[in-house]
């Protein structure tokens, strides 16, 4: 039971980073960005290659983030400068990144990193601890690392969204006309937001890959839906916590999402049904979130009761 809980928590937190990335585009910029499906595995593969070659963990995380920034820049460029629709820009970048990811991994579609140190490897200091404490530290170490990462990221995002530039990003999704009225180039603002979002998504990919100790090209397929499901779950199920920041809500949403998936699997549903379960959870969350539908559904239930 405990290990079940730890696994849900860890995955929820690792994908919580992704949820924050997706929040930035979908919720704040109002830009349905599908390129995340490519930038998430891009972050994974960059981190895997760096770890295998140089074993440098900060460099692996940093370069993944930079790679994600590049992917976001590309999506923004296609949309803003070449006037391609937002959905299509994301799809094109996602498609192109598939090959890029293969190239980075030297045409391999998966890379195991079992024998290298990752951000979740406990240092040798743990050996100085008493025996019974050691067991617990080793057990909870990944969760503590993930918690630290997500708290720092959340605080940085909260701070950023309260700066003038952060406000400009929020206005871009809220009322694009106002950005122009404020004398700012809305195209630049969009590109900046996309870069940041994809950078964080790639960072999330680097973290998840280290957790699995394995890179696979398919890590990213449908990941945008996972991120979005977390966002929708967080804001709909926990939306009544009005004073909570959106960054907190979506990370909790990500944990909730992992929990529902794990419960479904624990109920002996075959793993091949995972994507279908995701879609169903998503639809449920959306319906719960819909102000028009909710009263009807609740009324319907009363009638049948």
């Amino acid at each position: 039971m405990l290990s079940f809980g730890i696994e849900v928590l860890n995955q929820g937190l690792a994908y919580g980073v992704l949820a924050i990335a997706v929040t930035l585009t979908y919720k704040i910029l109002d830009f349905p960005d599908l390129s995340v499906d490519g930038s998430f595995p891009l972050g994974s593969v960059i981190a895997a290659v760096v770890l295998l070659k140089w074993g440098n963990i900060p460099l692996a995380l940093f370069l993944s983030f930079i790679g994600g920034l590049g992917a976001g820049l590309l999506t923004g460029f296609l949309h803003v400068k070449l006037k391609i629709s937002n959905l299509l820009s994301g799809i094109l970048v996602m498609t192109g990144l598939y090959s890029i990811n293969l190239m980075i991994a030297n045409n391999r579609s998966n890379l195991p990193i079992f024998n290298v140190k990752t951000m979740f490897t406990v240092g040798s200091w743990v050996e100085n601890l008493p025996q019974d404490l050691q067991v617990w530290v080793i057990r909870f170490y990944p969760s503590i690392v993930l918690l630290l990462v997500i708290i720092v990221l959340k605080l940085v995002m909260d701070w950023f969204l309260e700066t003038k530039l952060g406000f400009l990003l929020r206005i871009t999704g809220d009322n694009p006309q106002l950005v122009i009225a404020l004398g700012e180039d809305i195209g630049k603002t969009k590109i900046l937001g996309l870069m940041l979002s994809n950078g964080i998504a790639a960072f999330s990919g680097a973290i998840a890959m280290q957790m699995f100790r394995f890179y696979d090209i398919s890590l990213g397929s449908g990941i945008v839906v996972v991120g979005l499901a977390s966002v929708v779950l967080g804001t709909s199920v926990l939306g009544f916590m009005k004073s909570w920041k959106i960054t907190t809500l979506v990370v909790l949403g990500s944990i909730l999402y992992r929990l529902s998936i794990s419960v479904a699997l624990a109920l002996k549903l075959p793993p091949s049904n995972l994507k279908l379960i995701t879609a169903i959870i998503f639809v449920l969350a959306l319906v719960l979130n819909n102000k028009e539908l909710r009263p009807k559904l609740l009324k319907g239930r009363d009638k049948h009761a």
């Binding site: 700066t163 530039l165 406000f167 006309q177 106002l178 950005v179 122009i180 404020l182 004398g183 180039d185």
Partner: protein, 264 residues
């Protein structure tokens, strides 16, 4: 301050619907003027604003603003000096941000949008004073989201935001047309007060003939892309709503005659 010369504008070029709106539009807006613009639908008054603001590019002609040709300047750069309030009260404010956050952003127009804090606490008192002058009690709702305000309140806020950093030219695009008569009157009073106090050169498009006569010191009437009436000072003062309606009818009659000549 603003001079449009030899402006030409066609729509749907190369299609059977091609329509030449302006053939040779010339207009000079002088510093400190408050101009009201009237005209029926399709007469070219909205395009007039879109060309000044940079939403649309003219096919020919020059736009001199304070001596510089701005015909090819993008819209967002022009809006640092040319403020615009739209008919739709939703266009001038950000609904998910609070009144305080909206005002803070408007106050930052023309400055850098960097990583400094979005809301400067030192400015709150200044914003409260500005809001108090609107007489809507908004100074008590600084931390309310703008999306929760009524259309009239949002339009008053839009107007305040457009003029918070003194614009050199203010374009009012039928900014009272979507409001009920009482609110509309309130916004017009507010407009006149703001424009007078801050001495802003202003152009206001309106469908309300009485408003067009009561407000401002110069009146322009558009018809089929041409200026058919341009009166200021005493001449404008003497004009009545009946005169304007008569003018409208005369123009429409001319059209019908022209049409029947062509069709006949």
């Amino acid at each position: 301050m603003l001079r449009l010369s030899n402006i030409e504008k066609r729509f749907y070029v190369g299609t059977p619907h091609e329509n030449q709106l302006y053939q040779d539009l010339n207009i000079h807006i002088k510093d400190g003027e408050f101009i009201t613009v009237i005209g029926s639908n399709g007469s070219g008054k909205s395009t007039f604003f879109n060309i000044i603001a940079g939403t649309l590019q003219p096919d020919q002609g020059s736009i001199l603003f304070k001596g510089h040709d701005i015909a090819h300047q993008p819209e967002h750069l022009r809006s640092r000096h040319i403020a615009r309030v739209y008919q739709d009260p939703l266009k001038g404010t950000a609904p998910s941000l609070t009144i305080l956050e909206n005002l803070s952003m408007a106050y930052n127009k023309g400055k850098k949008f960097n990583l400094s804090r979005g809301v400067d606490q030192a400015l709150i008192e200044h914003f409260k004073q500005e809001l108090k002058a609107l007489n809507l009690g908004l100074e008590e709702k600084l931390n309310n989201r703008v999306g929760t305000l009524s259309g009239g309140q949002r339009q008053a806020l839009s107007l305040l935001m457009a003029t918070l950093v003194q614009p050199e030219l203010l374009l009012l695009d039928e900014h009272t047309a979507a409001l009920d008569p009482k609110t509309s009157e309130l916004i017009i009073d507010l407009t006149q007060r703001l424009v007078r106090e801050k001495e802003i050169t202003t152009v206001m498009v309106t469908h309300n003939l009485k408003q067009a006569l009561d407000v401002g010191d110069r009146l322009i009437m558009f018809h089929k892309g041409q200026i058919v009436l341009d009166l200021s000072g005493e001449e404008k003062h003497k004009l009545s709503v009946m005169d304007l309606i008569a003018k409208f009818n005369a123009l429409n009659l001319m059209n019908e005659l022209n049409d029947s000549l062509i069709l006949g």
